[in-house]
Amino acid sequence: MSSTTFEIVRPLRAPSLSLRRRSWRGGLQGSEFTWAVAFVVPYAAVFVAFVAYPVVYGLWMGHDPALYDELFSDPIYLRSVVNTVIYLGIGVNLKMFGALLLSGFFMRRSWWTKGLLLIYVLPWAVPQLPTFISIHWMLNGQWGLINNVLWDVFHIDGPGWLDTSRWLALSSVIASHIWKWMPFWTVILLAGRMAIPQDVYDAAAIDGATGMQRFTYVTFPLLANLYLICTLLSTIFTLGDFNSVYFVSGGGPALSTHVLATLGIRDAFQIARPDLGVATVMSALPLMIPLVIILMRKLRTTEVQL
Protein backbone atom coordinates (compact mmCIF):
# COMPACT_ATOMS: atom_id res chain seq x y z
CA MET A 1 0.00 0.00 0.00
CA SER A 2 2.80 2.40 0.78
CA SER A 3 3.77 2.83 -2.85
CA THR A 4 0.14 3.32 -3.75
CA THR A 5 -0.58 6.00 -1.27
CA PHE A 6 2.67 7.64 -2.03
CA GLU A 7 1.32 8.55 -5.39
CA ILE A 8 -1.68 10.31 -3.96
CA VAL A 9 0.51 12.16 -1.60
CA ARG A 10 2.87 13.37 -4.23
CA PRO A 11 0.75 16.45 -4.98
CA LEU A 12 1.29 17.44 -1.36
CA ARG A 13 4.88 18.11 -2.19
CA ALA A 14 3.99 20.16 -5.22
CA PRO A 15 3.96 23.74 -3.83
CA SER A 16 7.67 24.23 -4.35
CA LEU A 17 7.27 23.14 -7.93
CA SER A 18 4.35 25.42 -8.59
CA LEU A 19 6.47 28.42 -7.70
CA ARG A 20 8.45 27.68 -10.81
CA ARG A 21 7.55 29.41 -14.03
CA ARG A 22 4.95 27.30 -15.73
CA SER A 23 3.94 29.27 -18.81
CA TRP A 24 5.56 29.84 -22.13
CA ARG A 25 8.14 32.64 -22.30
CA GLY A 26 6.85 35.86 -23.79
CA GLY A 27 3.24 34.72 -23.87
CA LEU A 28 1.57 33.33 -26.91
CA GLN A 29 2.83 34.58 -30.22
CA GLY A 30 1.32 34.72 -33.68
CA SER A 31 -0.72 31.67 -34.53
CA GLU A 32 -0.10 30.18 -31.10
CA PHE A 33 -3.06 32.06 -29.69
CA THR A 34 -5.32 30.58 -32.32
CA TRP A 35 -4.04 27.10 -31.44
CA ALA A 36 -4.62 27.70 -27.74
CA VAL A 37 -8.20 28.76 -28.40
CA ALA A 38 -8.76 25.82 -30.72
CA PHE A 39 -7.56 23.42 -28.01
CA VAL A 40 -10.02 24.75 -25.49
CA VAL A 41 -12.98 24.83 -27.85
CA PRO A 42 -13.92 21.12 -27.51
CA TYR A 43 -14.26 21.36 -23.75
CA ALA A 44 -16.02 24.72 -23.97
CA ALA A 45 -18.48 23.14 -26.40
CA VAL A 46 -19.10 20.19 -24.06
CA PHE A 47 -19.63 22.59 -21.16
CA VAL A 48 -22.04 24.87 -23.00
CA ALA A 49 -24.04 22.07 -24.62
CA PHE A 50 -24.23 19.65 -21.71
CA VAL A 51 -23.79 21.69 -18.54
CA ALA A 52 -24.64 25.36 -19.06
CA TYR A 53 -27.68 24.76 -21.26
CA PRO A 54 -29.20 22.07 -19.00
CA VAL A 55 -28.59 24.23 -15.92
CA VAL A 56 -30.30 27.24 -17.47
CA TYR A 57 -33.07 25.06 -18.85
CA GLY A 58 -33.51 23.48 -15.41
CA LEU A 59 -33.73 26.88 -13.74
CA TRP A 60 -36.34 27.87 -16.27
CA MET A 61 -38.31 24.65 -15.75
CA GLY A 62 -38.40 25.18 -12.00
CA HIS A 63 -38.93 28.95 -11.89
CA ASP A 64 -42.68 28.90 -11.22
CA PRO A 65 -43.38 29.68 -7.51
CA ALA A 66 -46.60 27.66 -7.71
CA LEU A 67 -44.47 24.53 -7.95
CA TYR A 68 -42.95 25.24 -4.57
CA ASP A 69 -46.34 25.85 -3.01
CA GLU A 70 -47.32 22.45 -4.31
CA LEU A 71 -44.16 20.89 -2.89
CA PHE A 72 -44.47 22.39 0.54
CA SER A 73 -48.03 21.17 0.92
CA ASP A 74 -46.97 17.63 -0.02
CA PRO A 75 -46.24 15.40 3.01
CA ILE A 76 -44.10 13.04 0.89
CA TYR A 77 -41.85 15.92 -0.07
CA LEU A 78 -41.55 17.18 3.50
CA ARG A 79 -40.72 13.70 4.70
CA SER A 80 -38.07 13.42 1.99
CA VAL A 81 -36.49 16.64 3.19
CA VAL A 82 -36.27 15.20 6.71
CA ASN A 83 -34.82 11.98 5.29
CA THR A 84 -32.24 13.91 3.31
CA VAL A 85 -31.16 15.80 6.41
CA ILE A 86 -30.87 12.57 8.41
CA TYR A 87 -29.11 10.85 5.55
CA LEU A 88 -26.55 13.65 5.34
CA GLY A 89 -26.21 14.33 9.04
CA ILE A 90 -25.82 10.74 10.18
CA GLY A 91 -24.61 9.01 7.03
CA VAL A 92 -21.84 11.42 6.17
CA ASN A 93 -20.55 11.87 9.71
CA LEU A 94 -20.59 8.20 10.63
CA LYS A 95 -18.86 7.35 7.39
CA MET A 96 -16.19 10.02 7.71
CA PHE A 97 -15.54 9.36 11.36
CA GLY A 98 -15.31 5.65 10.74
CA ALA A 99 -12.95 6.31 7.86
CA LEU A 100 -10.80 8.50 10.10
CA LEU A 101 -10.52 5.80 12.76
CA LEU A 102 -9.99 2.98 10.29
CA SER A 103 -7.31 4.92 8.44
CA GLY A 104 -5.42 4.92 11.76
CA PHE A 105 -5.98 1.18 12.04
CA PHE A 106 -4.55 0.60 8.56
CA MET A 107 -1.40 2.50 9.53
CA ARG A 108 -0.46 -0.56 11.59
CA ARG A 109 2.57 -2.34 10.30
CA SER A 110 1.56 -5.94 10.73
CA TRP A 111 1.82 -8.36 7.86
CA TRP A 112 -1.88 -8.95 7.45
CA THR A 113 -3.07 -5.35 7.39
CA LYS A 114 -2.02 -4.95 3.77
CA GLY A 115 -4.09 -7.94 2.70
CA LEU A 116 -7.01 -6.80 4.81
CA LEU A 117 -6.95 -3.42 3.08
CA LEU A 118 -7.25 -5.16 -0.29
CA ILE A 119 -10.39 -6.93 0.92
CA TYR A 120 -11.71 -3.84 2.64
CA VAL A 121 -11.65 -1.71 -0.55
CA LEU A 122 -13.70 -4.31 -2.44
CA PRO A 123 -17.07 -2.52 -1.97
CA TRP A 124 -15.60 0.49 -3.68
CA ALA A 125 -14.18 -1.57 -6.57
CA VAL A 126 -17.42 -3.40 -7.32
CA PRO A 127 -19.96 -1.38 -9.34
CA GLN A 128 -22.78 0.09 -7.30
CA LEU A 129 -25.74 -1.55 -8.92
CA PRO A 130 -24.89 -5.25 -8.31
CA THR A 131 -24.04 -4.67 -4.68
CA PHE A 132 -27.09 -2.55 -3.90
CA ILE A 133 -29.36 -5.09 -5.58
CA SER A 134 -27.65 -7.80 -3.55
CA ILE A 135 -28.19 -5.83 -0.34
CA HIS A 136 -31.82 -5.32 -1.29
CA TRP A 137 -32.35 -9.08 -1.51
CA MET A 138 -30.16 -9.78 1.49
CA LEU A 139 -32.48 -7.64 3.62
CA ASN A 140 -35.63 -9.32 2.35
CA GLY A 141 -37.79 -10.11 5.38
CA GLN A 142 -38.74 -13.61 4.29
CA TRP A 143 -35.84 -15.16 2.39
CA GLY A 144 -32.99 -12.69 2.81
CA LEU A 145 -29.60 -13.84 4.02
CA ILE A 146 -29.62 -11.68 7.15
CA ASN A 147 -32.87 -13.04 8.47
CA ASN A 148 -31.88 -16.58 7.47
CA VAL A 149 -28.74 -16.25 9.56
CA LEU A 150 -30.71 -14.76 12.45
CA TRP A 151 -33.11 -17.69 12.26
CA ASP A 152 -30.62 -20.51 11.73
CA VAL A 153 -28.14 -19.34 14.31
CA PHE A 154 -30.11 -17.50 16.96
CA HIS A 155 -33.67 -18.60 16.23
CA ILE A 156 -34.79 -15.02 16.04
CA ASP A 157 -37.44 -14.03 13.54
CA GLY A 158 -35.85 -11.00 11.89
CA PRO A 159 -37.98 -8.04 10.86
CA GLY A 160 -38.76 -7.05 7.30
CA TRP A 161 -35.91 -4.62 7.06
CA LEU A 162 -37.13 -2.71 4.05
CA ASP A 163 -40.90 -3.02 3.99
CA THR A 164 -42.22 -2.63 7.52
CA SER A 165 -40.83 0.50 9.12
CA ARG A 166 -39.50 3.76 7.79
CA TRP A 167 -36.69 3.90 10.33
CA LEU A 168 -35.48 0.37 9.71
CA ALA A 169 -35.48 0.99 5.97
CA LEU A 170 -33.74 4.35 6.29
CA SER A 171 -31.11 2.86 8.59
CA SER A 172 -30.56 0.05 6.09
CA VAL A 173 -30.04 2.59 3.32
CA ILE A 174 -27.59 4.58 5.42
CA ALA A 175 -25.68 1.42 6.35
CA SER A 176 -25.48 0.44 2.68
CA HIS A 177 -24.19 3.87 1.78
CA ILE A 178 -21.54 3.63 4.47
CA TRP A 179 -20.63 0.11 3.36
CA LYS A 180 -20.10 1.36 -0.17
CA TRP A 181 -18.21 4.60 0.44
CA MET A 182 -16.31 4.30 3.71
CA PRO A 183 -13.43 2.37 2.06
CA PHE A 184 -12.88 5.18 -0.44
CA TRP A 185 -12.59 7.87 2.22
CA THR A 186 -10.47 5.59 4.38
CA VAL A 187 -7.94 5.30 1.58
CA ILE A 188 -7.87 9.08 1.17
CA LEU A 189 -7.43 9.76 4.88
CA LEU A 190 -4.82 7.00 5.03
CA ALA A 191 -2.88 8.85 2.36
CA GLY A 192 -3.24 12.02 4.40
CA ARG A 193 -1.88 10.28 7.49
CA MET A 194 1.03 8.83 5.57
CA ALA A 195 1.97 12.29 4.37
CA ILE A 196 2.62 13.39 7.98
CA PRO A 197 6.37 13.19 8.46
CA GLN A 198 7.61 10.71 11.05
CA ASP A 199 9.81 13.38 12.72
CA VAL A 200 6.73 15.09 14.10
CA TYR A 201 5.77 11.90 15.90
CA ASP A 202 9.34 11.36 17.06
CA ALA A 203 9.36 14.85 18.56
CA ALA A 204 6.04 14.19 20.26
CA ALA A 205 7.36 10.89 21.62
CA ILE A 206 10.37 12.66 23.13
CA ASP A 207 7.99 15.07 24.83
CA GLY A 208 6.25 12.03 26.25
CA ALA A 209 3.02 12.07 24.29
CA THR A 210 0.75 9.08 24.84
CA GLY A 211 -1.25 7.37 22.09
CA MET A 212 -4.31 9.54 22.59
CA GLN A 213 -2.27 12.73 22.80
CA ARG A 214 -0.48 11.81 19.61
CA PHE A 215 -3.86 11.77 17.91
CA THR A 216 -5.34 14.94 19.40
CA TYR A 217 -2.22 17.08 19.27
CA VAL A 218 -0.42 15.80 16.19
CA THR A 219 -2.50 13.74 13.80
CA PHE A 220 -5.81 15.52 14.00
CA PRO A 221 -4.60 19.13 13.66
CA LEU A 222 -2.54 18.12 10.63
CA LEU A 223 -5.39 16.16 9.15
CA ALA A 224 -8.17 18.61 10.01
CA ASN A 225 -8.15 20.50 6.73
CA LEU A 226 -8.21 17.34 4.64
CA TYR A 227 -10.93 15.93 6.88
CA LEU A 228 -13.03 19.07 6.42
CA ILE A 229 -12.66 19.08 2.65
CA CYS A 230 -13.49 15.38 2.48
CA THR A 231 -16.56 15.87 4.64
CA LEU A 232 -17.84 18.73 2.51
CA LEU A 233 -17.17 16.84 -0.70
CA SER A 234 -18.82 13.76 0.72
CA THR A 235 -21.84 15.83 1.82
CA ILE A 236 -22.40 17.08 -1.69
CA PHE A 237 -21.90 13.66 -3.27
CA THR A 238 -24.22 12.08 -0.72
CA LEU A 239 -26.82 14.76 -1.45
CA GLY A 240 -26.72 13.59 -5.05
CA ASP A 241 -26.61 9.90 -4.18
CA PHE A 242 -29.35 8.22 -6.13
CA ASN A 243 -28.36 4.57 -6.32
CA SER A 244 -28.25 3.54 -2.66
CA VAL A 245 -31.74 4.79 -1.90
CA TYR A 246 -33.22 3.77 -5.22
CA PHE A 247 -31.97 0.19 -5.15
CA VAL A 248 -31.88 -0.66 -1.47
CA SER A 249 -35.24 0.65 -0.26
CA GLY A 250 -36.64 2.05 -3.51
CA GLY A 251 -38.11 4.87 -1.45
CA GLY A 252 -40.40 2.43 0.36
CA PRO A 253 -42.21 1.48 2.49
CA ALA A 254 -45.02 3.74 1.26
CA LEU A 255 -42.67 6.38 -0.17
CA SER A 256 -41.36 7.10 3.31
CA THR A 257 -37.61 6.82 2.64
CA HIS A 258 -37.18 8.94 -0.46
CA VAL A 259 -34.48 11.59 -0.48
CA LEU A 260 -34.54 14.65 -2.72
CA ALA A 261 -32.44 13.05 -5.46
CA THR A 262 -34.69 10.01 -5.83
CA LEU A 263 -37.94 11.90 -5.30
CA GLY A 264 -37.03 14.29 -8.11
CA ILE A 265 -36.43 11.41 -10.52
CA ARG A 266 -39.67 9.75 -9.40
CA ASP A 267 -41.67 12.94 -10.00
CA ALA A 268 -40.13 13.38 -13.41
CA PHE A 269 -40.28 9.84 -14.75
CA GLN A 270 -42.91 7.91 -12.80
CA ILE A 271 -45.60 10.54 -12.47
CA ALA A 272 -44.46 12.48 -15.55
CA ARG A 273 -44.07 15.85 -13.84
CA PRO A 274 -40.56 16.96 -14.88
CA ASP A 275 -41.17 20.51 -13.66
CA LEU A 276 -42.06 19.21 -10.20
CA GLY A 277 -38.98 16.98 -10.27
CA VAL A 278 -36.75 19.91 -11.08
CA ALA A 279 -38.37 21.96 -8.33
CA THR A 280 -37.76 19.13 -5.85
CA VAL A 281 -34.08 19.04 -6.74
CA MET A 282 -33.81 22.82 -6.84
CA SER A 283 -35.18 23.13 -3.33
CA ALA A 284 -31.78 21.75 -2.24
CA LEU A 285 -30.02 24.78 -3.74
CA PRO A 286 -29.92 26.77 -0.47
CA LEU A 287 -27.78 23.98 0.92
CA MET A 288 -25.90 23.27 -2.28
CA ILE A 289 -24.80 26.74 -3.32
CA PRO A 290 -22.84 27.54 -0.12
CA LEU A 291 -21.29 24.08 -0.25
CA VAL A 292 -20.25 24.52 -3.87
CA ILE A 293 -18.77 27.95 -3.16
CA ILE A 294 -16.81 26.80 -0.11
CA LEU A 295 -15.59 23.71 -1.90
CA MET A 296 -14.52 25.56 -5.02
CA ARG A 297 -12.51 27.94 -2.89
CA LYS A 298 -10.99 25.16 -0.82
CA LEU A 299 -10.16 23.06 -3.84
CA ARG A 300 -8.66 26.04 -5.64
CA THR A 301 -6.54 27.35 -2.82
CA THR A 302 -5.49 24.03 -1.39
CA GLU A 303 -5.42 22.49 -4.83
CA VAL A 304 -2.11 20.89 -4.05
CA GLN A 305 -3.23 19.66 -0.66
CA LEU A 306 -5.99 17.36 -1.64
Binding site: W24, F33, F50, I119, G240, D241, V278
Partner: protein, 296 residues
Amino acid sequence: MSAVTAEGRTALRRPNYRMRRRLSEAMAVALALVLIVWTLTPIYNMVLVSLESHGDVFTDNIWPAHPSFDSFWIVLSQGYWYLQYFWHQFGNSLYIGAATTFITLLVGSLASFSIGRMRLKNGWVVSNAALMTYVIPASFLAIPFYSIMIKYGLANNLWSVIFAEVTFATPYAIFIFQQYAVSIPIELDEAARIDGASPLQIYLRIYLPLMAPALVAVGTYALLLAWNEYLYQFMLLSSKRSMTVPVALAQFLNSDEAPWNYMMATAIIYAIPPVAIYYAFRRRMTAGLTMGGVKG
Protein backbone atom coordinates in the same frame (compact mmCIF):
# COMPACT_ATOMS: atom_id res chain seq x y z
CA MET B 1 19.22 2.07 46.08
CA SER B 2 17.71 4.00 43.26
CA ALA B 3 19.08 1.48 40.78
CA VAL B 4 17.25 -1.28 42.57
CA THR B 5 13.92 0.47 42.46
CA ALA B 6 14.39 1.33 38.82
CA GLU B 7 15.11 -2.29 38.06
CA GLY B 8 12.18 -3.40 40.12
CA ARG B 9 9.95 -1.02 38.21
CA THR B 10 10.96 -2.30 34.79
CA ALA B 11 10.57 -5.85 36.01
CA LEU B 12 7.10 -4.99 37.17
CA ARG B 13 6.26 -3.15 33.99
CA ARG B 14 7.46 -5.72 31.47
CA PRO B 15 4.68 -8.31 31.79
CA ASN B 16 2.14 -5.51 31.98
CA TYR B 17 3.50 -4.03 28.77
CA ARG B 18 3.54 -7.42 27.07
CA MET B 19 -0.02 -8.05 28.12
CA ARG B 20 -1.13 -4.70 26.82
CA ARG B 21 0.51 -5.42 23.50
CA ARG B 22 -1.13 -8.78 23.30
CA LEU B 23 -4.47 -7.20 24.19
CA SER B 24 -4.13 -4.60 21.48
CA GLU B 25 -3.17 -7.28 18.98
CA ALA B 26 -6.24 -9.29 19.97
CA MET B 27 -8.43 -6.22 19.55
CA ALA B 28 -6.94 -5.59 16.14
CA VAL B 29 -7.71 -9.14 15.07
CA ALA B 30 -11.26 -8.80 16.38
CA LEU B 31 -11.72 -5.57 14.45
CA ALA B 32 -10.29 -7.22 11.34
CA LEU B 33 -12.81 -10.06 11.62
CA VAL B 34 -15.68 -7.62 12.01
CA LEU B 35 -14.45 -5.70 8.97
CA ILE B 36 -14.19 -8.86 6.88
CA VAL B 37 -17.70 -9.97 7.75
CA TRP B 38 -19.10 -6.47 7.19
CA THR B 39 -17.32 -6.11 3.84
CA LEU B 40 -17.96 -9.54 2.41
CA THR B 41 -21.55 -10.23 3.45
CA PRO B 42 -23.26 -8.49 0.49
CA ILE B 43 -20.70 -9.99 -1.87
CA TYR B 44 -21.15 -13.44 -0.39
CA ASN B 45 -24.89 -13.03 -0.80
CA MET B 46 -24.38 -12.27 -4.47
CA VAL B 47 -22.31 -15.44 -4.99
CA LEU B 48 -24.64 -17.54 -2.86
CA VAL B 49 -27.78 -16.62 -4.77
CA SER B 50 -26.08 -16.99 -8.15
CA LEU B 51 -25.12 -20.58 -7.32
CA GLU B 52 -28.62 -21.61 -6.24
CA SER B 53 -31.49 -22.90 -8.29
CA HIS B 54 -34.60 -20.76 -8.55
CA GLY B 55 -36.40 -22.86 -5.95
CA ASP B 56 -33.53 -22.81 -3.49
CA VAL B 57 -33.41 -19.03 -3.53
CA PHE B 58 -36.68 -18.96 -1.65
CA THR B 59 -35.55 -21.05 1.30
CA ASP B 60 -33.70 -20.24 4.50
CA ASN B 61 -30.34 -21.53 3.23
CA ILE B 62 -27.28 -19.65 4.28
CA TRP B 63 -25.02 -21.62 1.96
CA PRO B 64 -25.89 -23.10 -1.41
CA ALA B 65 -27.52 -26.52 -0.89
CA HIS B 66 -26.87 -27.74 -4.42
CA PRO B 67 -24.33 -25.30 -5.88
CA SER B 68 -24.27 -25.15 -9.66
CA PHE B 69 -23.13 -22.78 -12.35
CA ASP B 70 -26.35 -23.15 -14.30
CA SER B 71 -27.35 -19.53 -13.81
CA PHE B 72 -24.07 -18.34 -15.26
CA TRP B 73 -24.58 -20.61 -18.24
CA ILE B 74 -28.12 -19.26 -18.75
CA VAL B 75 -26.75 -15.72 -18.77
CA LEU B 76 -23.86 -16.48 -21.11
CA SER B 77 -26.10 -18.36 -23.53
CA GLN B 78 -28.88 -15.73 -23.26
CA GLY B 79 -31.27 -18.47 -22.23
CA TYR B 80 -33.87 -16.38 -20.45
CA TRP B 81 -36.18 -13.83 -21.98
CA TYR B 82 -34.86 -10.90 -19.94
CA LEU B 83 -31.38 -11.84 -21.10
CA GLN B 84 -32.23 -12.18 -24.77
CA TYR B 85 -29.84 -9.41 -25.80
CA PHE B 86 -27.24 -9.86 -23.07
CA TRP B 87 -24.18 -9.88 -25.33
CA HIS B 88 -25.54 -7.04 -27.36
CA GLN B 89 -26.04 -5.04 -24.17
CA PHE B 90 -22.59 -6.01 -22.96
CA GLY B 91 -21.27 -4.67 -26.25
CA ASN B 92 -23.18 -1.43 -25.72
CA SER B 93 -21.57 -1.01 -22.30
CA LEU B 94 -18.15 -1.65 -23.83
CA TYR B 95 -18.80 0.76 -26.68
CA ILE B 96 -19.91 3.51 -24.30
CA GLY B 97 -16.91 2.86 -22.06
CA ALA B 98 -14.40 2.95 -24.91
CA ALA B 99 -15.87 6.05 -26.53
CA THR B 100 -16.13 7.89 -23.21
CA THR B 101 -12.53 7.07 -22.36
CA PHE B 102 -11.20 8.23 -25.72
CA ILE B 103 -13.20 11.47 -25.86
CA THR B 104 -12.50 12.33 -22.23
CA LEU B 105 -8.76 11.89 -22.71
CA LEU B 106 -8.77 13.89 -25.93
CA VAL B 107 -10.92 16.79 -24.76
CA GLY B 108 -9.39 16.90 -21.29
CA SER B 109 -5.77 16.81 -22.41
CA LEU B 110 -6.31 19.46 -25.10
CA ALA B 111 -8.00 21.81 -22.65
CA SER B 112 -5.41 21.25 -19.91
CA PHE B 113 -2.59 21.83 -22.41
CA SER B 114 -4.08 25.10 -23.51
CA ILE B 115 -4.90 26.36 -20.00
CA GLY B 116 -1.98 24.97 -18.07
CA ARG B 117 0.93 25.03 -20.50
CA MET B 118 0.08 27.71 -23.02
CA ARG B 119 -1.58 29.85 -20.35
CA LEU B 120 -4.47 30.93 -22.50
CA LYS B 121 -5.76 34.29 -21.31
CA ASN B 122 -8.81 33.84 -19.07
CA GLY B 123 -8.23 30.13 -19.07
CA TRP B 124 -9.15 30.16 -15.38
CA VAL B 125 -12.77 30.67 -16.40
CA VAL B 126 -12.64 27.28 -18.06
CA SER B 127 -10.94 25.63 -15.07
CA ASN B 128 -13.55 27.09 -12.78
CA ALA B 129 -16.34 25.88 -15.00
CA ALA B 130 -14.81 22.40 -14.88
CA LEU B 131 -14.41 22.52 -11.11
CA MET B 132 -18.03 23.58 -10.72
CA THR B 133 -19.19 20.70 -12.89
CA TYR B 134 -17.16 18.39 -10.72
CA VAL B 135 -18.89 19.44 -7.52
CA ILE B 136 -22.45 19.48 -8.89
CA PRO B 137 -24.08 16.07 -8.31
CA ALA B 138 -24.88 14.43 -11.62
CA SER B 139 -28.30 13.29 -10.43
CA PHE B 140 -29.35 16.91 -9.90
CA LEU B 141 -28.77 17.69 -13.56
CA ALA B 142 -30.50 14.58 -14.83
CA ILE B 143 -33.99 15.88 -15.59
CA PRO B 144 -33.07 18.93 -17.69
CA PHE B 145 -30.30 16.87 -19.29
CA TYR B 146 -32.90 14.39 -20.46
CA SER B 147 -35.11 17.12 -21.93
CA ILE B 148 -32.14 18.59 -23.74
CA MET B 149 -31.12 15.26 -25.21
CA ILE B 150 -34.60 14.93 -26.68
CA LYS B 151 -34.18 18.39 -28.21
CA TYR B 152 -30.85 17.34 -29.68
CA GLY B 153 -32.61 14.31 -31.17
CA LEU B 154 -30.37 11.90 -29.29
CA ALA B 155 -32.95 10.09 -27.15
CA ASN B 156 -32.43 6.32 -27.03
CA ASN B 157 -29.07 6.77 -28.75
CA LEU B 158 -25.83 5.50 -27.25
CA TRP B 159 -24.21 8.83 -28.01
CA SER B 160 -26.46 10.66 -25.58
CA VAL B 161 -25.00 8.50 -22.80
CA ILE B 162 -21.46 8.94 -24.11
CA PHE B 163 -21.90 12.72 -24.00
CA ALA B 164 -23.29 12.50 -20.47
CA GLU B 165 -20.37 10.43 -19.22
CA VAL B 166 -17.87 12.69 -20.99
CA THR B 167 -19.51 15.71 -19.38
CA PHE B 168 -18.94 14.30 -15.91
CA ALA B 169 -15.54 12.72 -16.51
CA THR B 170 -13.78 15.61 -18.26
CA PRO B 171 -13.67 18.04 -15.29
CA TYR B 172 -11.80 15.44 -13.27
CA ALA B 173 -9.50 14.83 -16.25
CA ILE B 174 -8.67 18.52 -16.58
CA PHE B 175 -7.97 18.83 -12.87
CA ILE B 176 -5.65 15.84 -12.75
CA PHE B 177 -3.86 16.73 -15.99
CA GLN B 178 -3.16 20.24 -14.81
CA GLN B 179 -1.76 18.97 -11.54
CA TYR B 180 0.35 16.32 -13.16
CA ALA B 181 1.68 18.65 -15.87
CA VAL B 182 3.36 20.79 -13.22
CA SER B 183 6.03 18.10 -12.91
CA ILE B 184 6.94 18.30 -16.63
CA PRO B 185 9.58 21.00 -17.19
CA ILE B 186 8.32 23.87 -19.30
CA GLU B 187 11.81 24.10 -20.81
CA LEU B 188 11.00 21.08 -22.96
CA ASP B 189 8.20 23.01 -24.63
CA GLU B 190 10.48 25.98 -25.06
CA ALA B 191 13.25 23.99 -26.70
CA ALA B 192 10.74 22.59 -29.15
CA ARG B 193 9.35 26.06 -29.76
CA ILE B 194 12.79 27.40 -30.63
CA ASP B 195 13.20 24.56 -33.08
CA GLY B 196 10.03 25.77 -34.74
CA ALA B 197 7.50 23.23 -33.50
CA SER B 198 3.86 24.24 -33.69
CA PRO B 199 1.69 23.95 -30.57
CA LEU B 200 0.04 20.91 -32.10
CA GLN B 201 3.42 19.22 -32.50
CA ILE B 202 4.40 20.09 -28.94
CA TYR B 203 1.11 18.65 -27.72
CA LEU B 204 1.53 15.44 -29.70
CA ARG B 205 5.28 14.85 -29.35
CA ILE B 206 6.05 16.22 -25.90
CA TYR B 207 2.95 16.72 -23.82
CA LEU B 208 1.07 13.49 -24.52
CA PRO B 209 4.04 11.06 -24.18
CA LEU B 210 5.14 12.62 -20.91
CA MET B 211 1.61 12.61 -19.58
CA ALA B 212 1.24 8.85 -20.07
CA PRO B 213 0.82 7.97 -16.35
CA ALA B 214 -1.88 10.61 -15.92
CA LEU B 215 -3.57 9.44 -19.11
CA VAL B 216 -3.70 5.89 -17.76
CA ALA B 217 -5.10 7.07 -14.43
CA VAL B 218 -7.79 9.27 -15.96
CA GLY B 219 -8.56 6.74 -18.70
CA THR B 220 -9.23 4.07 -16.08
CA TYR B 221 -11.39 6.49 -14.15
CA ALA B 222 -13.44 7.41 -17.22
CA LEU B 223 -13.84 3.79 -18.29
CA LEU B 224 -15.04 2.69 -14.86
CA LEU B 225 -17.34 5.72 -14.56
CA ALA B 226 -19.00 4.91 -17.88
CA TRP B 227 -19.23 1.20 -17.14
CA ASN B 228 -20.64 1.62 -13.63
CA GLU B 229 -22.97 4.58 -14.07
CA TYR B 230 -26.68 3.83 -13.95
CA LEU B 231 -29.00 6.84 -13.77
CA TYR B 232 -28.22 8.48 -17.11
CA GLN B 233 -28.15 5.17 -18.93
CA PHE B 234 -31.53 4.30 -17.45
CA MET B 235 -33.05 7.64 -18.46
CA LEU B 236 -31.59 7.89 -21.91
CA LEU B 237 -31.76 4.31 -23.17
CA SER B 238 -35.12 2.61 -23.30
CA SER B 239 -35.18 -0.03 -26.02
CA LYS B 240 -33.84 -3.51 -25.34
CA ARG B 241 -31.28 -3.26 -28.09
CA SER B 242 -29.87 0.09 -26.99
CA MET B 243 -29.77 -0.76 -23.28
CA THR B 244 -26.59 -1.36 -21.34
CA VAL B 245 -26.02 -4.15 -18.82
CA PRO B 246 -26.86 -2.16 -15.65
CA VAL B 247 -30.15 -0.95 -17.14
CA ALA B 248 -31.05 -4.49 -18.17
CA LEU B 249 -30.09 -5.72 -14.71
CA ALA B 250 -32.38 -3.22 -13.00
CA GLN B 251 -35.19 -4.26 -15.36
CA PHE B 252 -35.28 -7.63 -13.65
CA LEU B 253 -36.65 -5.94 -10.58
CA ASN B 254 -39.82 -5.04 -12.46
CA SER B 255 -40.91 -8.61 -12.97
CA ASP B 256 -43.34 -10.13 -10.45
CA GLU B 257 -41.13 -12.86 -9.11
CA ALA B 258 -37.65 -11.79 -10.03
CA PRO B 259 -35.31 -14.65 -10.99
CA TRP B 260 -32.76 -13.68 -8.38
CA ASN B 261 -30.25 -16.36 -9.30
CA TYR B 262 -30.03 -15.18 -12.94
CA MET B 263 -29.91 -11.61 -11.76
CA MET B 264 -27.02 -12.20 -9.41
CA ALA B 265 -25.17 -14.22 -12.05
CA THR B 266 -25.60 -11.28 -14.45
CA ALA B 267 -24.47 -8.92 -11.72
CA ILE B 268 -21.29 -10.93 -11.11
CA ILE B 269 -20.44 -11.17 -14.80
CA TYR B 270 -21.02 -7.43 -15.11
CA ALA B 271 -18.89 -6.68 -12.04
CA ILE B 272 -15.87 -8.81 -12.93
CA PRO B 273 -14.31 -6.56 -15.63
CA PRO B 274 -14.33 -3.36 -13.53
CA VAL B 275 -13.05 -5.16 -10.44
CA ALA B 276 -10.22 -6.70 -12.45
CA ILE B 277 -9.36 -3.34 -13.98
CA TYR B 278 -9.56 -1.70 -10.59
CA TYR B 279 -7.09 -4.09 -8.97
CA ALA B 280 -4.80 -4.08 -12.01
CA PHE B 281 -4.55 -0.32 -12.24
CA ARG B 282 -4.99 0.44 -8.54
CA ARG B 283 -1.56 1.99 -8.22
CA ARG B 284 -1.98 4.25 -11.20
CA MET B 285 -5.54 5.16 -10.37
CA THR B 286 -4.86 6.26 -6.85
CA ALA B 287 -2.59 8.94 -8.30
CA GLY B 288 -5.56 11.21 -8.53
CA LEU B 289 -8.21 9.48 -6.54
CA THR B 290 -8.13 12.08 -3.86
CA MET B 291 -10.30 14.23 -6.07
CA GLY B 292 -12.64 11.71 -7.54
CA GLY B 293 -13.75 8.20 -8.01
CA VAL B 294 -16.81 9.26 -6.16
CA LYS B 295 -19.12 10.55 -8.78
CA GLY B 296 -21.87 8.55 -10.42
